[in-house]
């Protein structure tokens, strides 16, 4: 019962902060977006790929919904528009892949919506599904990155440590690699392998750093406040435990 009330309070606080900051950030105040070297390198690699007409490979994860890590799949979908520039030429192009039919369908919707104004997105951006299970997906992506040399290989969403094989091959073939997402094991695995990898809650600030829209700035600010509150609560709980009050 207490846990229910606690979770409801956290939920209510998050909703309250999001609404308040949405109103404030729209009219009066601004929240400066912090610079992250890893995200800056991702943006640079994306621009360089467009300028050089080289291929970009965006992987949206294995599942849209993962019970252990809820929200990671939707966060990957939120990041996608940041990569959909009208300058993506059909020579280089981009493939936005996923391991789940629902992910691919959503990605296609977003791409179609983005390029409604006459741009033939089907030639420049493809949305393949390389395999419906983690272990069938990996050989599929491996053959894709072998056949289409890429300048950027970015991984988002929910995935497991099996992506290591793909990432190490992509690394060997060259190009920039960026990872933001995955299970805790895959984050540890990729930390040892990829220079630009986001860990933990950093994954969820990525839309805010890539897309300077109010809705993402609001999330960034709210997440920062909740992080500070959580840290304070943990420290207070530890102190209370040490003095035998808790």
């Amino acid at each position: 019962m207490i846990l229910n009330w606690l979770s409801l309070s956290i939920l209510g606080l998050a909703a309250f902060l999001l609404i308040i900051f949405s109103i404030l950030l729209k009219d009066k105040m601004d929240y400066p977006i912090r610079q992250d070297a890893r995200v800056s390198r991702l943006v640079q690699a994306h621009i360089a790929a467009i300028e050089r007409q080289e291929h970009q490979n965006i992987f949206l994860g294995q599942h849209l919904f993962c019970p252990a890590y809820p929200g990671v799949g939707l966060d990957a979908i939120a990041v996608l528009p940041a990569f959909l520039d009208s300058e993506i030429g059909k020579v280089g192009g981009m493939s936005v892949s996923g391991g789940d039919g629902s992910l691919v369908v959503l990605a296609r919707e977003i791409i179609a919506g983005r390029y409604r104004a006459g741009f033939n997105h089907q030639l420049a951006v493809t949305t393949p599904l390389y395999g419906p299970t983690p272990l069938s997906l990996t050989p599929g992506i491996l053959s894709e990155i072998h056949d289409n040399p890429h300048h950027l290989f970015a991984l988002f969403g929910s995935y497991g440590p099996e992506v290591l094989t793909t990432v190490s091959t992509a690394r060997r073939l060259g190009g920039h690699i960026f990872a933001a997402g995955g299970s805790i094991i895959s984050q540890a695995t990729l930390f040892a392998n990829v220079e630009d990898v986001l860990i933990g809650e950093e994954i969820f600030i990525l839309p805010g750093l890539l897309i300077p829209k109010t809705k993402f700035k609001v999330t960034l600010l709210t997440e920062d406040i909740l992080r500070i509150l959580l840290m304070a609560a943990l420290i207070i709980a530890v102190i209370l435990k040490m003095v035998s009050i808790l």
């Binding site: 229910n4 409801l8 956290i10 939920l11 909703a15 999001l18 949405s22 890590y69 809820p70 929200g71 990671v72 939707l74 966060d75 979908i77 939120a78 528009p81 996923g98 789940d100 039919g101 629902s102 992910l103 691919v104 369908v105 959503l106 919707e109 977003i110 919506g113 393949p128 599904l129 390389y130 419906p132 272990l135 599929g140 053959s143 072998h146 056949d147 440590p161 099996e162 290591l164 094989t165 190490s168 805790i184 984050q187 695995t189 040892a192 392998n193 220079e195 933990g200 809650e201 950093e202 994954i203 969820f204 809705k215 609001v218 999330t219 709210t222 997440e223 909740l226 992080r227 959580l230």
Partner: protein, 204 residues
């Protein structure tokens, strides 16, 4: 109008599922219907996904692209497995044997490749990251965790040594919990953002 309808459906369904967490007894019949629809939609989306997969390989085959041979192999095996599954059903011993003796050994061999890759990349860790406080911390805690979890180093119960060993054994778990808490906050905000219709990833 289409966007508005999608937003209303998403918000109503999201709020109902959320309320169902707190008022299970009252909302369980509604939740069952929602989850049934969810599974149905997920199944339909999976079928569409498999359609994309087959189309991708057919295109490769038609254009005689690099790796077309593997596409033939994939298409043949896919249809063979699907037809066998439909005809024999999942309970058939032959079909079960096919899965157990082909798919599982293949997946196991793939896992062994992954283990070898992991070992190789662990050895290259410092070259990838350099000697930074983060990399030293990661490497140090990984080695300490491996050593302390071997069980060779034991302390007398009740002593400071035993408490320290327990502390080092638990340290990776503490880090993992920290990361999971951070991810939970992020996930919560993504959900609330969608419930408040601030973000519409399903049709923007």
């Amino acid at each position: 109008m289409k966007k508005m309808a999608a937003t209303i459906i998403a918000v109503v369904v999201g709020l109902t599922v959320l309320c169902g967490y707190y008022f299970q007894a009252i909302l369980s019949p509604v939740l069952r219907v929602i989850f049934d629809w969810f599974v149905l939609l997920l199944g339909a989306a999976s079928l569409i996904g498999i359609g994309y997969l087959i189309r991708l390989h057919f295109t490769k085959l038609m254009r005689s692209q690099k790796g077309a041979f593997y596409s033939i192999l994939l298409i043949v095996v896919f249809f063979l497995t699907m037809i066998t599954g439909f005809v024999l059903t999942l309970d058939n011993p032959f079909y079960q044997g096919l899965i157990l003796n082909v798919q599982i050994p293949v997946e196991a061999s793939f896992l062994s490749i992954m283990a070898a890759t992991l070992l190789y990349t662990s050895l290259r860790f410092v070259r990838t990251r350099g000697w930074t406080p983060m990399s030293i911390g990661f490497l140090g805690s990984a080695v300490a965790s491996l050593v302390f979890n071997l069980g060779y180093i034991q302390g007398q119960p009740g002593t400071v040594g035993a408490a320290l060993i327990l502390f080092f054994r638990r340290l990776p778990m503490v880090g993992a919990r920290g990361i999971l808490l951070g991810m939970a906050i992020g996930g919560l905000l993504v959900g609330v953002r969608i419930l408040l219709a601030l973000d519409r990833p399903y049709g923007e």
